[in-house]
Point group: C2
DNA sequence: CGACTTCTGCATCGACCGATACAGAAATCG
DNA sequence: CGATTTCTGTATCGGTCGATGCAGAAGTCG
């Protein structure tokens, strides 16, 4: 058993990978995949293009890792919301989490998963498809959670979990667009509250 | 009074401006403002860059005119919806119009006003701000229509027209994002139907 | 130490970006 | 007709795009 901590051979990295990725995520969040140039990104990350390519591969890989970080950071409210005891609690937590994350002061407004690459040129198709999968995966998780609520008797037996999940995620994506348009946090939270007032959709 | 039709002096245009603009709109719709290159656009329009600049000014002006055409074409369901006799009819028509327009076969999926430029680099800020204003203007028109419904007694006197308008447009924008993610027309229409089942929001 | 491995800074690559200069073609004018 | 005006095709502009080559710096090895 080696007790002595040995670093890897060779010159060590002169920057913190996590912090650089965080900065890159913020740039992608604000400007989108194609709107964020390598110069923008490396400037914010505080490193050169060479170091970026050595550490992250290329722009698309950097985006992929930035999206993972976004999922586990600003968008972590989703997994927490899915653990709420009731379906209504889940829906409420998803929408309020969306509102808070998409309107946080000193952060870009909107959602990286929505505005990161809703459309793209040919060269950005990879990023666009990645976000399509990200959004659809989120909807699927919510649907599975609601299915469980139906099975557990938390939701009426005739409830369509897919429809409910589509409703909640549609609201969440719409809230993200509104936030990107500058709509205030309070107004969006009121909208989210009103949207769940007749849960589970009569 | 001149009865004889006289064309303008100089060589006449060798292409149809309206048709070229229609083609440009479709390219912007599919790829977004920054994702659509001049080469993409002029190829689809069937003209050279010189002719495009002579006829439309520059890329941003072309986008502005393409958005106007989109508003009066694919997005014309909004003004028609606002003329429905009841507030519920307005909301229903807006959402079903959004579903149909954002999932039309042989057209780009999604909404140009949403995915045209949700984010942008510095050079695309003009287009992004234009779309922000376009979306907020749409929401304002719906709010004014709902305010009229309150004044006319069509909606209960305590109804908040702004909240209702925000709810409907949030759903519409969310539907546009879902459509861009490949969600089917039928599923989105079911979502829209369910969203209005407890109108006007209890 | 010197050998080896890895990271960094600088310069630069070919491709594409939006936008133009210029000359000639195609129309209307007197 | 010739003069004038406008549009079109080609060729190209400087700038930026994402991505690399290369030499040297900065570490760990024996």
């Amino acid at each position: 058993m080696r007790t002595k901590q040995r670093g890897p051979i060779g010159r060590p990295r002169g920057f913190d990978t996590d912090e650089a990725l965080e900065r890159a995520m913020l740039v992608f969040w604000e400007h989108g995949y194609e709107g964020a140039s390598l110069a923008n990104l490396t400037d914010a990350m505080g490193i050169s293009t060479t170091s970026m390519y050595a550490a992250f591969g290329n722009k698309e890989e950097l985006f992929r890792k930035a999206l993972e970080r976004y999922t586990e950071g600003p968008s972590a409210y989703l997994v927490r919301a899915l653990e709420e005891p009731t379906a209504l609690g889940v829906a409420t937590a998803i929408l309020s989490g969306t509102v808070r994350t998409t309107t946080r002061p000193a952060h870009p407004h909107g959602c990286l998963g929505v505005q990161g690459a809703l459309t793209a040129s040919d060269s950005g198709r990879g990023a666009r498809d990645l976000l399509v999968a990200w959004r659809n995966d989120g909807c699927s998780r919510v649907r599975e959670r609601f299915q469980r609520a139906v099975d557990d008797g938390d939701l009426p037996p005739r409830t369509d979990p897919g429809l409910l999940a589509r409703y909640v995620t549609t609201l969440a994506f719409g809230i993200a667009v509104q936030a990107a348009s500058g709509v205030s946090r309070d107004e969006l939270q009121e909208t989210a509250d009103a949207a769940l007032r007749n849960w589970p959709l009569s």
